[in-house]
């Protein structure tokens, strides 16, 4: 039986080299020709359930026809973790060619056997580390034939409400939405949300808003004593907090990739 290839989203961290084609009239770094930075990009994942080349091609064609604009020159990750390695040898280079012929740019593979990964490497694809399904930072992969556009979560999910203290060692994650905590967040506790975070008690632990990359997310708290505060991966640790805002009611947001802390 052949299942259709599913497409999900992968939130992955890649190294980018920015500053290569610098505008010569306004050089950002007159001495440095390049810079290596960590960044994160959301990519579509092509999950294979079968190594049947014919079936893959037919179903791939159907999928691409649903959203041709989206897939034009789209970078894509091939997920091999559902394939049975011994029984189904996949002609990897042929499959990569067929993806490229359809206008996709496969950039890497995930999962699969060692032989499959070697085949991927010889096809000049990167082998990405497998992400464990219990990882709270991972976007839920779309199942079956459903398809989700690769945009960061914008807080469409339900708001999560916590009315008891969040103790040291506890971890709370509001997937797809906002998080409201009506009590204190102790040192060593960690609260995360895809959307905004509101804390109507002391924030003494860590608060991470927009963990799926939503840079519009904000953190609001009535008493800032956080160990760490982050929005979309941009963070500040306790040591770097301005003493003037410590213990005060504040909001935290991003402006030009800078974490701004303002009084409420």
């Amino acid at each position: 039986m052949i299942e259709s290839p599913a497409i999900g989203t992968l939130h992955t961290t890649r190294l980018l080299n920015s500053g290569m084609p610098v505008n010569s009239t306004e050089p950002h770094h007159p001495t440095a020709a390049l810079e290596i930075k960590a960044g994160s990009i959301t990519l579509p994942i092509l999950k294979l359930f079968s190594a049947d080349f014919e079936a893959l091609n037919v179903q791939l064609e159907q999928k691409l026809r649903q959203a041709p604009e989206f897939f034009r020159n789209a970078p894509i990750i091939v997920d091999l973790s559902e394939l049975v390695p011994d029984r189904e040898p996949l002609d990897f280079s042929a499959f990569v060619d067929s993806l490229r012929n359809r206008g996709l740019s496969p950039v890497g593979v995930r999962g699969g056997s060692q032989i499959q990964q070697q085949a991927a490497q010889s096809a000049k694809l990167a082998v990405l580390a497998e992400i464990k399904p219990d990882n709270a930072h991972q976007a839920p992969a779309a199942q079956g034939a459903s398809f989700k556009p690769a945009s960061p979560a914008k807080g469409f999910g339900p708001t999560k409400l916590i009315d008891h203290p969040v103790r040291s060692g506890q971890r709370i994650y509001a997937a797809g939405g906002d998080l409201i905590v009506l009590a204190q967040v102790s040192p060593g506790a960690e609260i995360m949300a895809d959307g905004n975070i509101h804390i109507y008690g002391s924030l003494k632990g860590r608060a991470l808003a927009g963990v799926q990359g939503n840079l519009e997310a904000r953190v609001f708290c009535s008493d800032l004593q956080a160990e760490l505060i982050a929005i979309g991966g941009h963070y500040k640790i306790s040591e770097n907090l301005d003493e003037a805002v410590r213990g005060k009611p504040v909001q935290v947001y991003l402006r030009d990739n800078l974490l701004i802390i303002d009084y409420l």
Partner: protein, 269 residues
């Protein structure tokens, strides 16, 4: 049905076993049939503090492994017939405890006792987890010092999420804060967290404050629960704790530095 009380802390050396001994003896003194169970398998201390170490024949692990009956392993206290002790095994480790075994022993104890006091080992591993898993009430023993407070906070998180009550969606475990080894003088000098400081961090109902006291060490060495030392400040403080736990309104003592009278000042108490 017995009420199961766990005495826990996360951190070691804060006075869990002293508290377990005092609370179980205190409940027995108030006329309640009480069993105290040592969950610190491998490092058994409760029998020493209770002064029954020379009467241990069978232990908790023997009962779990069905090598002995509960009645064979329970030691009746010589000072109060309401109180029974189930000692820990010295020769085994905490892996000898199983959830099913602990549940069976606690169920059997429930049939004859009003209160079961579980003396938790330090840490957050198997022994500590099983000690608190079946609890109805938790006494979180904390010293007025930052690392102990932090560990207590961690333990409170586990009580709220990893207990049977949490897993079955029942009412949560009732949590009480017991501050031990408290010294008002050192708080005044800024060397120790105050009751208010600890309350602010843990946000918990305060069951009592036990002052730092020589009586505790003397009691441990002589195998007498300190609550029996009615003249001592620690003994009185534990008796207050029992009365508060049983619903009486008892004002807190030993929080303020005692004012010495002229006599005390001249002769240094």
């Amino acid at each position: 049905m017995a009420r199961i009380i766990v005495v826990t802390s996360g951190k070691g050396g804060v006075g869990k076993t002293t508290t377990s001994a005092a609370i179980s003896m205190g409940l027995a003194l108030q006329g309640h049939r009480t069993a105290v169970v040592d969950f610190d398998i491998g490092l058994r201390n409760l029998d020493l503090i209770m002064g029954c170490e020379r009467r241990v024949v069978y232990d908790f692990v023997n009962v779990i492994n069905q090598e002995a009956t509960l009645n064979q392993a329970l030691i009746r206290d010589k000072r109060n017939e309401n109180l029974h002790i189930l000692p820990a095994s010295q020769t085994r480790d905490k892996d000898a405890l199983t959830k099913e075994g602990v549940e069976r022993v606690l169920n059997e104890l429930s049939e004859t006792f009003d209160y079961i006091v579980c003396d938790s080992p330090a840490g957050i591993e198997r022994g500590a987890h099983l000690a608190m898993y079946f609890a109805d009430d938790a006494v979180v023993v904390t010293n007025p010092e930052v690392s102990s407070v932090r560990d207590s906070d961690r333990m409170l998180g586990l009580l709220a999420s990893k207990s049977r009550r949490a897993e079955l969606g029942q009412d949560p475990i009732k949590e009480y804060l017991l501050l031990t080894r408290y010294s008002p003088q050192r708080v005044k000098l800024g060397e120790m967290l105050s009751v208010e400081d600890v309350q602010e961090i843990l946000a918990l109902h305060l069951l009592g404050v036990i002052p730092e006291s020589k009586a505790v060490l003397n009691a441990s060495n002589s195998g007498t629960p300190v609550i029996l030392d009615e003249k001592s400040d620690a003994g009185q403080a534990y008796m207050d704790v029992i009365r508060r736990y049983l619903g009486e309104h008892v004002p807190h003592r030993f929080i303020e530095q005692e004012r010495k009278g002229l006599f005390g000042r001249l002769f240094g108490s």
